[in-house]
């Protein structure tokens, strides 16, 4: 079985999730007694691809074309389609980035396949990988396997594998040049931008009190602000709160907001969808207050109170004040 990990770069910078997926690919390959290869798409990326020469990979493919300079789903799918035709890999693994979410379903469909997206782990059964993924926002896990012929496709969730476990080795770069015509690209991407300079740097806060959907109404946020004030911490939120406009986007923690790792992260009424967890699970001490004992936030919490936040938070404020 041949395995290729498709790494992601933008403007010559690696997306660091790629190295987590590289570690996953090496692990799966090792269990199958083979060595994984790596591929990267772009323009002028041979040197960048060369940075992988110190990793344990069979081969590094630099998929090189000027029309791959800026990402478009059409160019990426054309290039990868031709790459698959030429090298016939059996299993292609991708980091589950926003970009991969954009093109991988299209690529798999063009090969009459279904990609297993957002994988959190795997095990081997009878020489085939069984992939684990989450359902219902992390409340339930599922075992999924591929049915039918190669190639198979899967994308790995952020944090599921550890980048520092990527194994060192020696390899060489092979350049592959797909043929892509400008007329085949139907979308015109423009430059990346950020909305505004962030006024709040949550990354610098020692204590963060974060509020989620459980708060029910905008007016109730004052209660959580009071707790943040009592602790001398910053107020943050999960995505739905910022979507609703109850707090500004710059206070959002998670994959589309800020990634934080404070000394204390106190999650109030946050169930812990993976998009939120990836933004805060590196915090030193995590506290969760939630009415649902099965909420995924308790997966990462060191301390927890299962209960009604409207009863617990006022008592917590009082207890913090007493302790001062």
């Amino acid at each position: 079985m041949s395995i290729v990990v498709v790494m992601e770069q933008r403007a010559g910078q690696w997306n660091r999730m790629s190295f987590e997926t590289l570690a996953a690919a090496q692990q799966i390959a090792g269990e199958l007694g083979v060595t994984a290869s790596a591929a990267v798409l772009g323009h002028g990326i041979e040197a960048l691809a060369g940075e992988l020469a110190g990793k344990q990979v069979e081969k590094i493919y630099a998929i090189e074309h000027e029309l791959l300079k800026d990402y478009t789903p059409d160019a990426y799918c054309l290039a990868l389609g031709q790459f698959i035709d030429r090298f016939q890999p059996h299993l292609l693994l991708f980091p589950h980035t926003y970009q991969v979410r954009d093109f991988l379903p299209k690529l798999a469909t063009s090969r009459d396949r279904v990609a297993v997206s957002d994988v959190i782990g795997h095990r081997m059964e009878g020489g085939h990988p069984v992939l684990v993924r989450q359902l219902f926002q992390g409340k339930v896990n599922a075992d999924v396997r591929f049915v039918g012929d190669f190639p198979h496709f899967a994308s790995m969730q952020a944090g599921a594998y550890r980048a520092d476990q990527a194994i060192a080795g020696a390899s060489t770069v092979e350049v592959f040049q797909p043929s892509i015509a400008p007329a085949q690209i139907r979308t015109a991407p423009q430059d990346l931008f950020r909305e505004s300079q962030r006024a709040v740097d949550l990354g610098a806060a020692d204590i963060i009190v974060s509020v989620g959907r459980g708060i029910k109404e905008a007016d109730n946020i004052a209660l959580v602000q009071k707790l943040a004030d009592a602790l001398g911490g910053e107020l943050a939120a999960s995505r739905p709160i910022c979507d609703a406009g109850w707090l500004p986007m710059e206070r959002q923690v998670g994959s589309s907001g800020q990634t934080v790792a404070p000394k204390l992260y106190l999650a109030v009424g946050i169930s812990g969808a993976i998009q939120h967890l990836v933004g805060m699970k590196g915090s030193r001490t995590i506290v969760a207050i939630n009415k649902d004992a099965n909420a995924p936030i308790f997966e990462v919490a060191d301390y927890g109170i299962v209960g009604d936040l409207f009863q617990v938070v006022p008592e917590l404020i009082a207890a913090v004040e007493r302790a001062k």
Binding site: P73, D74, Y98, R101, D102, F103, L104, P105, K106, A108, T109, S110, V114, S117, D118, R133, Q134, L135, F136, G138, K139, V140, N141, D143, V144, R145, F146, G148, R186, T187, A188, P189, L192, R194, D206, I207, R213, P240, D243, A244, M249, S255, G257, Q258, L264, T285, N294, F298, E299, V300, D302, Y303, G304, I305, G307, E315, L316, A318, A319, A323
Partner: protein
């Protein structure tokens, strides 16, 4: 602009989800259902585009008979008509499901197809781009804004870590909409009343001539995740629990 919005009915957000004895799916006998939240934003985007540029919004939904409720709600919010592919979708993987939607939507010749970026139940996040590929349309995912442009449309894509990007493309096209696209509207009383008279076209996989075909992936088993971390839980009254927590934070974790 003719807009089709693909919506899905999923278990309500706070549902307790008992695993069924077969271990293949949840026991859904006592569940309540609602529109998949990102799809609610896709519907909102569609309704706003219609208000700005005129045209028609068609709600498209594949699901068993109970999905009729979610379709009615979409009509009450302002969709002009609906297509209900009445099927129990459990046997369909994302490609098979998208083939059903593609077959139903082909004859509509829509300018724009919208759907949520992912479902809150299966969460593959693939239906949109698969559908675009099956229909031969360009697409863009995780969209926060849509405006008309000379070429067709100009959309704002959300990327990781607070970055965004504008992308332009010609119509017809398919977009997956991110939650928070805009504030969601409520159905008005008038809307609810009108919904009863709106057309709901009923189709099935058979009437569409789509066979679910060979599955490409198989979900063998679902189960509750194993706790890998031991969380110290504090019980008692809220006051007692809060006091214990503060004590631990001060003297064990030493973070306050």
């Amino acid at each position: 602009m003719k807009i089709v919005v693909a919506i899905k009915q999923v278990p309500a957000r706070d549902s307790q989800l008992p695993i069924s004895p077969s271990g293949k799916w949840i026991d859904d006998a006592d569940l309540t259902y609602e529109i998949n939240e990102p799809d609610a934003y896709a519907l909102e985007a569609g309704l706003q585009l219609k208000e700005q540029h005129g045209g028609e919004v068609v709600a498209l939904c594949a699901g068993p008979a109970r999905a009729a409720q979610t379709i009615r709600e979409a009509l009450a919010k302002g969709a002009d008509r609906a297509i209900h592919i009445e099927e129990d979708m459990a046997a369909f993987d994302p490609l098979a499901a998208a083939k059903l939607l593609a077959a139903a939507v082909k004859s509509e010749s829509a300018d724009l197809i919208l759907t949520g970026l992912q479902s809150d139940d299966l969460g593959y996040g693939q239906t949109g781009p698969i559908l675009a590929e099956l229909l031969g349309m360009p697409h863009a995912t995780i969209i926060m804004q849509v405006e008309k442009s000379a070429a067709g449309i100009r959309v704002k894509r959300e990327l990781e870590d607070g970055w965004f990007q504008h992308v332009e493309m010609a119509l017809p096209a398919l977009l997956t909409i991110q939650s928070g696209f805009s504030k969601l509207r409520y159905a008005t009383l008038m809307g609810i009343k009108k919904a009863k008279t709106k057309e709901v076209k009923k189709l099935t996989a058979e009437s569409l001539g789509v066979v679910s075909g060979t599955a490409r992936i198989a979900m063998d088993r679902i189960y509750l995740p194993e706790r890998t971390k031991r969380t110290q839980l504090f019980d008692g009254t809220p006051k007692e629990a809060a006091a214990k927590l503060v004590e631990k934070l001060r003297f064990e974790a030493r973070v306050i």
